[in-house]
């Protein structure tokens, strides 16, 4: 049990604990600001972590991701505006509770459920990740390429409103990743004679552009619109008793497992987990009619699920090098900058670091749980005092200096601006920025394994069909695509039939 020495090590390091505490606060505040996501905060702060030791850098960003997911519930309950897409399901019952003067009670339920969900996900990750890594070590290039292929298809088709535009986002991400020198033959690709492009497109400026500057462009449309805060200062109505929370527990347990399972699948993420858990909770509820009108269980179920995603979404990243979420894609940048090779061999070469990171995650959950339980209302009040017309220009300026800092290169800042505008346009046109970025990250590994597989093969592409594991993953990808297309067709038909 490597986790116990790791926990002791982290608890004995006050500086590291300080970073975890700071991350818990920063993530909660950023997640609670409508429009800003944990991904945006992590992308913006990523260049700062280049100057830190690997463990504090990773722990800082990892815990921001966790508390950012939770922070979204504060905005959903208090402002009727989900701070993150994942907390949109929380809004369905959280805001009606706030209108009844029970905002603090709703936030306490959200906090406890988030903490239980996050702990469940993290413990499942700790228990299962070494086992998955041991299996991953046995996979050869054909199997790994098939996993990449399935990831491209799932990421492109399952999330977002349009399958074609989601897949096109993934294809565009692959094409942008191809810019520069071919890593095997050093042949120039898509460089158009530009010296700057021979180095390829940097991950950090691309992410800052898509997630931070793109959000600033999007926020122009909401400028001047201040969130209205619901009152939270009625102590009699806001005391949460055990009798009130007990009916939530079965929903929290079920939703935590749903979130953990969805978290392991690349690209699906917290929003899908939260809505699946909400739907399943309502279906099994004793009083489904109360859901949507201010049921505490309707807050507990999606919050447990969206936070349970956090830990297991690291499993494909740490064992296969495949990010399960946008936060995972950003963390790849930190691992690479610090010279840590991700993938199954990581458990042989950097085992202590991995378990120390998990320990930081567990401590981060406890910290944001305590701060959230007693201070979520204060965070909500603080956010209403920060005017967005000042906040977003500051974020705008920070994104430029952060993009420059990553490599000390103004070309990267131009890349960031282009990515920012593209990110805004993608959101407006129902493309999928997350699929674009994750595919950008995956493309290099996918190409490498594809070409290695062809070198191993005597029958060309047939190697992917003759290896059973590879075939299964290829079929999983195709099946996910077919299921999604059928489901969208059904939705379209239902929309046409509805008068």
């Amino acid at each position: 049990m490597d986790i116990f020495p790791a926990l002791i090590g982290v608890l004995a390091d006050p500086v590291l604990l300080g970073w975890v505490l700071l991350a818990a606060v920063v993530g909660m505040v950023v997640g609670a600001i409508p429009g800003l996501t944990a991904s945006a905060a992590i992308a913006m702060l990523l260049p700062l972590t280049f100057y830190m030791e690997p463990l504090p850098a990773l722990a800082f960003l990892y815990v921001i991701g966790k508390s950012g997911r939770y922070g979204g519930s504060i905005a959903a309950i208090l402002f009727n505006t989900p701070g993150t897409a994942a907390s949109a399901a929380t809004q369905l019952d959280g805001y009606p509770l706030a209108r009844q003067g029970k905002a603090s009670k709703a936030m306490k339920v959200a906090t406890i459920s988030s903490v239980i969900g996050d702990f469940t996900g993290e413990i499942l990750l700790i228990a299962g990740v070494a086992w998955i890594a041991a299996i991953a070590l046995k996979l050869g290039p054909p199997e790994l390429f098939a996993v990449y292929f399935a990831a491209f298809i799932v990421i492109g088709s399952v999330i977002g409103k349009s399958v074609t535009r989601g897949l096109a986002s993934a294809a565009l991400g692959i094409l942008v990743a191809m810019i520069g020198l071919d890593p095997i033959s050093s042949t120039e690709r898509f460089t158009f004679g530009s010296f700057h492009l021979t180095n390829g497109i940097g991950l950090v400026p691309l992410m800052i552009g898509i997630f931070v500057l793109g959000e600033v462009f999007a926020q122009i449309e909401d400028r001047g619109r201040a969130p209205a805060l619901m009152a939270t200062d009625d102590p009699a109505r806001n005391r949460l008793s055990w009798a009130e929370y007990r009916p939530c527990l079965p929903h929290v347990a079920r939703s935590s497992l749903i979130g953990a399972f969805i978290g392991m699948l690349p690209g699906l993420g917290s929003a899908i987990a939260a809505f699946v858990a909400y739907g399943e909770g309502k279906r099994r509820a004793r009083d489904p009619e109360a859901w949507g009108t201010g049921a505490l269980e309707g807050v507990a179920a999606p919050e447990a699920a969206n936070n349970a995603v956090s830990g297991p979404s690291m499993a494909p990243l740490l064992t296969l090098g495949i990010p399960g979420s946008t936060i995972g894609a950003i963390l790849i940048g930190v691992f690479l900058i610090h010279g840590i090779q991700i993938g199954p061999t990581m458990f042989l070469t950097s085992r202590d670091l991995v378990y120390a990171l998990f320990a930081c995650g567990l401590i981060g959950i406890a910290i944001y749980g305590v701060i959230g339980y007693f201070g979520a209302a204060f965070v909500g009040r603080f956010i209403t005092r920060v005017p967005t017309r000042v906040l977003y220009p500051v974020i705008f300026l920070t994104s430029f200096v952060a993009a420059y800092t990553s490599r000390g290169n103004l070309f990267d800042v131009y890349v960031m601006v282009a990515a920012g505008f593209a990110g805004w346009a993608m959101r407006k046109l129902d493309f999928n920025p997350a699929a674009f970025v994750i595919s950008f990250v995956l493309a290099g590994g996918a190409e490498e394994t594809f070409r290695q597989a062809l070198l191993l093969s005597d029958n060309g592409l047939m190697i992917f069909v003759t290896r059973p594991v590879a075939l299964v993953f290829l079929l999983i990808g195709l099946a996910a695509l077919l299921v999604r297309v059928r489901s969208l067709r059904r939705q379209t038909r239902a929309a046409v039939m509805t008068p």
Binding site: Y51, S185, F190, R389, P393, Y404, L410, L488, T492
Partner: protein, 156 residues
């Protein structure tokens, strides 16, 4: 929003096909490896062809109403111009002067009109970012090609 009402499938479809065709032509220009194999060309070509096919699939969808609201486009365009101009200005006159101009301009685009606020931003933003990133973190600052305030103040 259902797939049938996604914004402007025709425009998006044509754009994807054009990007895909351009990328396909460029991919075919990627040199073969010394053994005449397509190694370096395969993935770019696969991505390009996928774009063409997805563009064609997009064209087959029913046309929907445009969801892009035009009311905010001038502000979006202003922010884009400011973004490009800001990077160019950093390369021309250095980080401090460029940020002293860009900070109030960004606030103006977001609706801040108080002269004192704009002036405060023009002074405090360059100083704060310079201290945090170029002094505390030790990143080498981007120097201006024509003039740089750091030269004037003696490289503080």
């Amino acid at each position: 929003m259902t797939p049938g009402t996604s914004p402007t499938p025709r425009v998006v479809g044509v754009a994807l096909i054009l990007i895909g065709m351009g990328a396909t032509l460029t991919s075919m220009g990627i040199a073969l490896d010394p053994y005449g194999r397509w190694g370096a060309r395969l993935f770019p070509l696969a991505g390009s062809v996928a774009l063409i096919l997805l563009g064609a699939a997009e064209l087959r969808q029913a046309p929907g109403a445009s969801a892009v609201e035009r009311r905010h486009l001038p502000a979006i365009a202003a922010l884009l111009v400011l973004s490009v101009g800001y990077v160019w200005a950093i390369s021309a006159v250095g980080y401090l002067i460029a940020t002293a101009v860009a900070a109030p301009a960004a606030l103006w685009i977001f609706g801040v009109r108080r002269p004192l606020g704009l002036l405060t931003a023009a002074i405090s933003c360059p100083v704060a970012y310079h201290v945090v990133f170029f002094e505390l973190l030790g990143v080498f600052p981007p120097l201006g090609r024509y003039v740089d305030l750091l030269d004037v103040v003696g490289g503080v």
